[in-house]
């Protein structure tokens, strides 16, 4: 057991909260992300690996540029 269990917990929790907040399955969230990517990429130059959506209790945030840290 080299992987610490917190990273697993956070990943599972984030997926759970997105499906809870949107009241749909994780697969549907993936499809939504795919559709949004498709739509945004028609207008904006964006790479799939830079595209990310975040669902909060009130908003959906779309990130389409990789942040360089």
């Amino acid at each position: 057991m080299s992987v610490n269990s917190v990273s697993v917990a956070k990943e599972r929790l984030k997926n759970l909260l997105v499906s809870d907040r949107m009241q749909c399955t994780p697969e549907a969230v993936d499809r939504l992300e795919g559709d949004l990517y498709h739509t945004v990429s028609k207008y904006v130059e964006v790479r799939r690996e830079d595209f990310d959506i975040t669902v909060t209790r009130t908003d959906i945030h779309i990130k389409y540029m990789g942040e360089k840290n």
Binding site: A9, L13, L17, D20, R21
Partner: protein, 263 residues
Amino acid sequence: MGEVIVITSGKGGVGKTTTTANIGIGLSNLGKKVIVIDTDLGLRNLDVVLGLENRIVYNIVDVIEGNCRLKQALIKDKRFPELYLLPSAQTKDKSSVSPEQMKKLVDDIRNDFDFVLLDCPAGIEQGFQNAIAGADRSIVVTTPEVSAIRDADRIIGLLEASGIRRNDLLINRLRIDMVRRGDMMSVDDVTEILAVDLLGVIPDDEQVVIATNQGEPVTGENCLAGKAYTDICRRLTGEEIPIDDFSRPEGILEKISSLFHRN
């Protein structure tokens, strides 16, 4: 006019009742006039945590149904300056009270107290709706576990949808040793995921179990959890107290003091 705060969590067993009791006692020790109300109909417990179970005559349903006056049902805790308990009913079910009746009860009494604390039942059904009906704000209690945090998120969503905008998080039973080795989510992990204001952190402390066994408070005691509850109470009265997230390494003084406690 007093502030009405509901203590809620969604998931059961994370420490709502213990939190309600200890915050009630802590606020009373700070000179505030406090009433704690057990809204868990059918599963009365706040009286037990406070050690007042042998003094119950009337309960919240008796007050709402007009079988007695509020003053007759209130139990004054003589150990503390101004702390009162309105106990729940052990025999009635959750549907015997409506949210409108709860709101009216709270509105009728809030002028007589500085703080009205409502201990909410687990779940999101009628008992939850009753408990939040008269509240101005909430304290959402969670532990650093996936299931408890998930339920806390759900509860915050429901509170926001009911028009309760001020929802503060209390992280309970944080195991400092487990956080350090990466096997328990840290305070930062939890607040980042839930994105609400943090009111305080209670470290896992066996003194809480010992105090609860005896029907005594842990607030004000010289232990980690006792100090954390006192800080939370001072924050509720408007003091600016930095929140200890227990991420810094243990100091030499604490090591010495914990050695003394063990012996």
